[in-house]
């Protein structure tokens, strides 16, 4: 069974023992039998998103199995829209990401709305980091407002995953990325039961987490192997339009 990692990073946070280089990503994800990954540029979250996007685009060019998010910043809506125009669909950049660090106090800002209006013409998935109830409510509201876009709740609300599961149940253009430090034993099964297995994704969040930490949740979840198959790759393949390579990633 192949694995597509729907959410990991190129680059590492300052407290990490990792560097998050492409070679490290390929090595660690490959050892965890991951075949393809959609990366966000860590540098685009903590600094100039345009430089981060450019570095990511260059790093993953012509690398089989490596895909990327174009990171946006709602404080810079015009520049973000320009990033969409110039980068989406080029060099394996296939989705948008709104990082929590760049979102400001509330996710549902005027800036993000302007960017999402522009994103309608591209129709790519939009991942938004969610770290609590307010973030979850905002993403659900945006998903209702922009019904033709598909929204991924990055980290599934973290400790507030039960709220995410309930809030997304009837909002069919939302997807749940299960990766977070919160490893509550029922969360994968509850997500599958509430939103259906077709809207649950495996995201390792490497190097902030390790793929095995999140894969452990899927291994232990009280779901059948067809559901595992969907979470581990099929849903991501359909959502991002990715055909995973037959072999795991290799450094």
């Amino acid at each position: 069974m192949p694995i597509i990692d729907a959410h990991a990073y190129f680059g590492a946070p300052p407290e990490s023992v990792r560097k998050g280089t492409v070679e490290e990503v390929l090595g660690v994800l490959g050892e965890s039998t991951v075949n393809a990954v959609v990366l966000a540029a860590a540098a685009a979250e903590e600094g100039d998103f345009r430089r981060g996007n450019a570095a990511l685009q260059q790093a993953i060019a012509d690398r089989p199995g490596l895909y990327g998010y174009v990171t946006i910043n709602p404080s810079y809506p015009e520049e973000s829209i320009e990033e969409l125009r110039t980068r989406l669909g080029r060099g394996n950049l296939c989705a948008l990401k709104l990082p929590r660090e760049a979102a400001g106090r509330r996710v549902a800002s005027e800036g993000i709305q302007a960017i999402l209006h522009a994103a309608l013409r591209y129709g790519v998935p939009v991942l938004v980091d969610t770290r609590g109830e307010a973030d979850i409510r905002d993403v659900v509201q945006l998903a209702q407002e922009f019904g033709s876009l598909k929204f991924i709740l990055g980290g599934m609300g973290d400790e507030e995953w039960e709220t995410a599961v309930r809030a997304c149940a009837s909002v069919l253009n939302t997807f749940l990325d299960i990766g977070s430090l919160s490893a509550d034993r029922d969360k994968v099964k509850d997500a599958v039961d509430a939103v259906t297995v077709r809207r649950v994704l495996f995201g390792s969040h490497f190097p902030r987490l390790h793929p095995l930490y999140v894969l452990g949740m899927i291994k232990d979840a009280a779901i059948d192997n067809r559901d595992r198959d969907r979470i581990l790759w099929r849903n991501a393949a359909e959502l991002f339009g990715i055909e995973p390579p037959s072999a795991p990633l290799q450094a």
Binding site: V17, E31, L181, D184, L212, Y213, L215, G216, D220
Partner: protein, 241 residues
Amino acid sequence: MNIIDCHTMFGFWPQRRADISPETLVNLVREHQVSTALTMSTTGIFADFNRGNEETVAICRKAGRLLLPIGTIDPRRFVGTIEEIDRLADAGVRIWRLFPEIQGWDLASRPVGPILQRLGERRCTLLISASRSGEPTRIADRTAEFRLPTVLLGVTNLQLGELVAVLPTAPHLLLETRRLADPAVVRALGQRFGFDKLVFGSASPLQYLSSALLPLQKAGLSAADLEQVLGGNMHRRLGGG
């Protein structure tokens, strides 16, 4: 390999819907080939520590060596806590857990000192949550004078800087590996401070056991180091080897 899970529980969990019955715990422990799980009744956290400890001892007796008891007391009551430590320590309970993060008391409050002192005198080991920034520092400072071996539960890779700063001056501290969440972090801490400072705990059945176990098993540790972390270090704390 002998696996000792230092952090499990059973009973009822009021903070979210979760099956943490003793049967579920035993099934998970067996399924993951854990040799021994240290455990306690959640009655001791949320209701009454005397009653909780009784439930813990009874379940552990029934499960044989598969489950071993963790004692707990609640400093908010204070009265009777020292006697409870002595009673259970006389019966062989060596591992104790305190819950400031759930019960809402301050580690610096006056009742805590005598409790920590008695746990140290009885050569017990303390388990305590330290998952937030600053908690490892506060716990290290508070427990140092009592020479009380203390396992910091729930520490994360995001606290790496604090842990690296605290551990050299706190030789009595150990770290639970569960939420370090990356084999590289386990390796880095083990190589810097010694693998005798790391112990395996899962918070099962509340948390996924494999999320804690897989990164450890794939950390690329030598067989001897892995044996220490998975079971040897806690085995010594329990009075073996």
